[in-house]
């Protein structure tokens, strides 16, 4: 559809006026619409009528408006509950490992190592101050001997625990 620009301008105004009329409900029955004699414009007017006829003037009725609004609020409440649930679930799961986790060999192994190391660290923390206090004013006593061998003993203990843990799992 190639027309001179002045024709184009006229054609677009006529099409716009035609669309304004049909959307304003004039004529009330679209079958009675009168089309322009020019073939180009008539084709466009017919397309506009086709669109208008296919979709009509169906604004949603009150029931639809209320139903959508109710669904939106329902969806929002569900998503809020879901958010709350997920926070609690994460919290509980953090402290209560699932059965699958407990059955996992890797998890069990890791847990054993952690418990063993924690035990060793606790023992060290408890024993070291006590052993230090006993070596100061008694040169050559057993405190001095223990003080020299404590790091080696603890290292050996850690290695033993690790070896036992690995062997068990």
């Amino acid at each position: 559809m190639t027309l001179p620009s002045n024709n184009n301008s006229e054609l677009q105004d006529q099409l716009a006026n035609f669309v304004d009329r049909i959307l304003a409900g004039n004529p009330a029955n679209l079958d009675q619409a009168t089309f322009a004699p020019e073939e180009d414009l008539r084709a466009l007017e017919q397309t506009a009528i086709r669109v208008k006829t296919a979709f009509g003037d169906n604004d949603p009725d009150e029931a639809v408006i209320n139903r959508i609004q109710k669904n939106i609020l329902g969806q929002m409440q569900i998503s809020e509950i879901h958010v709350n649930e997920s926070i609690w679930r994460k919290f509980i799961e953090y402290f209560k490992p699932s059965e699958k986790k407990w059955r996992s060999q890797h998890s069990r192994q890791r847990l054993n190592i952690i418990i063993s190391l924690a035990t060793v660290v606790v023992l060290m923390l408890v024993a070291i101050p006590f052993l230090n206090s006993s070596n100061g004013d008694q040169p050559g006593a057993s405190g001095q001997f223990l003080n020299n061998y404590i790091p080696i003993a603890i290292g050996g203990l850690i290695l033993l625990v690790l070896w036992l843990t690995r062997r068990k799992s």
């Binding site: 716009a16 959307l23 506009a48 669109v51 006829t53 979709f55 949603p60 959508i68 609004q69």
Partner: protein, 184 residues
């Protein structure tokens, strides 16, 4: 519910952000018909309510980030277009076709004549194939009922340019409709 009939959209948004849920109800009441009609022009009848609902749910959760740089109606229109695009992405994964739309519509007991229904689906598909600016000007005039002057303001054009765009859009739609439908 508080009456907000004279309050601007942007002010309602501020009220909502400050925790006034009735401000959102007013925004919903004000814009539901526009959104619903826009969706109805581009989405099969059976899914119009669902997509409209998704638009407002998305609006509800995104409103706190609305900065008021654009008009609320423009922002909502963009959101609607995103939701429609998302709907078609989901749908393309399911490989749903025009035949499926017809079956769904008939099963739902759609009141429209089958020929009208088929034509609506054909036009919807043609509209979705149009370049975005053409589809937009048709939707603004037909679905949203905006006058050419208002469309021109919205598109930041002069009315003559808008009418020219509209004519080209209708001509392209006509050509698209003339092309035989893809059987899928």
């Amino acid at each position: 519910m508080t009456s907000y009939s004279d309050t601007s959209d942007n002010h309602l948004v501020q009220q909502f952000i400050q925790g006034d849920m009735s401000a959102f109800d007013s925004l919903y009441t004000r814009h539901i018909k526009t959104v619903y009609n826009r969706v109805r022009y581009v989405v099969p009848e059976t899914d119009v309510e669902d997509v409209t609902q998704e638009v407002f749910i998305a609006a509800l959760s995104s409103l706190p980030s609305f900065r008021g740089e654009a008009q609320f109606s423009t922002w909502l229109r963009t959101l609607t277009n995103h939701k429609v695009a998302e709907y078609y992405r989901r749908r393309s994964r399911k490989k749903e076709t025009m035949q499926v739309d017809m079956v769904h519509a008939e099963r739902r007991g759609d009141q429209n004549h089958p020929i009208l229904l088929e034509d609506r689906i054909t036009i919807q598909r043609a509209l979705n194939k149009l370049p975005e600016q053409y589809r937009e000007v048709i939707l603004l005039r037909f679905a949203e009922g905006m006058q050419f002057k208002e469309i021109a303001d919205s598109l930041k054009q002069n009315p003559e340019a808008t009418k020219s765009l509209f004519r080209r859009a209708i001509a392209t739609l006509r050509n698209t409709l003339d092309v035989k439908d893809d059987p899928t």
